[in-house]
Symmetry: C2
Subunit: 235 residues, 2 copies
DNA sequence: ATTATTAGTGTCAAATAAACATTTATATTT
DNA sequence: AAATATAAATGTTTATTTGACACTAATAAT
């Protein structure tokens, strides 16, 4: 039986907003587009959804193709479906943001792409509505990170409290009182102290911690409290 | 020029999870499906995205077709794209939840549909993955309503504090201390007291309020505080 | 006039958050 | 080897917010 006959079919794509944290600032991974139209212009990594995969599956595939990474935290952050968003053909794109630990991202597996990290707020001109996609992803990241401790996904398995604090400062563009932040974070039992210290970034050295994955899953939504409430209110 | 030649195109649909509040409980509006396959089974209202409209536009159109309502609050709440979600053909569906004031929804404009309100937790068996869609919409509604005062969209322009309190109780399945809730709500300046009282629901009568739309837009994210923080933590 | 019912205001103790101070560990310098 | 500089970590205090609970107010029904 041939249902839905005559219904219009559409090209469905995914685009990935790949966030990374270099210890100083947030960055996104962009590529030089490898197909027409707009070949060789800077763009988000993307691809079409194939018949045998879900949109999320497509995003996962596309991310792996570029970075070689699997099991990466990803989250839907928008649907871009204006009929005129690509002038040549009608394409609806579903966007996903990915949080990756840049230390795991050693080298691009695929030489097929010319890829480069850019500071989040200083990326080059991008094709189509990719700039809007990034803006939406940033907004979604902020909202989500206010409710869930997802920012840990941007750090290595072992991290220090100063590291996670400066990450929060980047994402929300605020100055945190490290003393209060650290106290609240520790009170949550979300992180477990290790014996080892990071001696790279200070004389005294800061203890490494790792996530308490049980608490991470349980208390996930109470994380809002690790931010001063006003920071959630602002744009 | 014919770009993207050979790329697989897909049927893209939208489905609407239409929430209403009857003063007692949350309800959703379902229809008896009017096309094959699965004709005459209970289903969410949906439709295919047409070439000249965005997915959001399609959801708006579909909602208007069923209810006659325009300018309804809608929000994306999921993407259902498992290749096997419909056994006959590959369809990706984008879901939107809509919040409507049931008092405006007097009669179904279109007699084309057999539509019925169901209590949110006692809906009939539904086609495909529509049950999952409702569950996702409910989750999304809770999260969003913890950050934004969107629940006012479910009430008439004039509402009472007891009404909005019982709405919150429904959505989060909690018991609120009405005294504390009312105090916090009033402190926000989000609502403006009217002269008139609602005498329907109590002997004393409760004053009507209306939204302060300026504050609604400004302080929108601080609304989290009108809920006890623990209620946000629970699933 | 009395009663029952729900609206709305008031009070207070406990918990939390924010501002600020001090101590600690260690590499570097003298 | 002692002094110094630097950032980490812990401590203290005050202000604010929350949550629990008591009370008063308005009015329809008895």
């Amino acid at each position: 039986m041939d249902f839905y006959k005559g219904e219009p079919s559409i090209l469905l794509a995914v685009d990935c907003i790949i966030f990374g944290f270099n210890g100083e600032s947030l960055e996104i991974l962009l590529i030089k587009r490898d197909l027409e139209p707009e070949r060789n212009k800077w763009s988000l990594m993307g691809g079409f959804v194939k018949p045998e995969e879900s949109p999320e599956g497509a995003a996962t595939r596309v991310l792996k193709k570029l970075t070689g990474l699997e099991n990466v935290y990803m989250d839907n952050c928008g649907i871009f479906g204006d009929p005129k968003r690509e002038s040549h053909r009608r394409v609806v794109s579903i966007t996903y943001f990915a949080l990756i630990d840049t230390q795991q991202y050693q080298h691009i597996i695929s030489d097929q792409y010319e890829a480069k990290w850019f500071p989040l707020d200083q990326h080059p001109d991008l094709i189509f509505d990719h700039k809007d996609m990034i803006a939406a992803a940033k907004r979604e990241l902020r909202t989500k990170a206010a409710l869930y401790p997802i920012l840990f996904e941007l750090l290595p398995d072992k991290f220090t409290i100063p590291q996670i604090a400066s990450l929060y400062e980047c994402v929300y563009n605020i100055q945190l009182d490290k003393r209060n932040f650290s106290r609240k974070l520790l009170a949550s039992d979300l992180i477990i102290k290790l014996k080892e210290k990071d001696k790279e970034n200070s004389k005294k050295g800061a203890f490494y911690y790792r996530l308490n994955t049980d608490i991470y899953k349980e208390k996930i939504m109470s994380f809002l409290r690790y931010l001063p409430s006003w920071s959630v209110e602002n744009e």
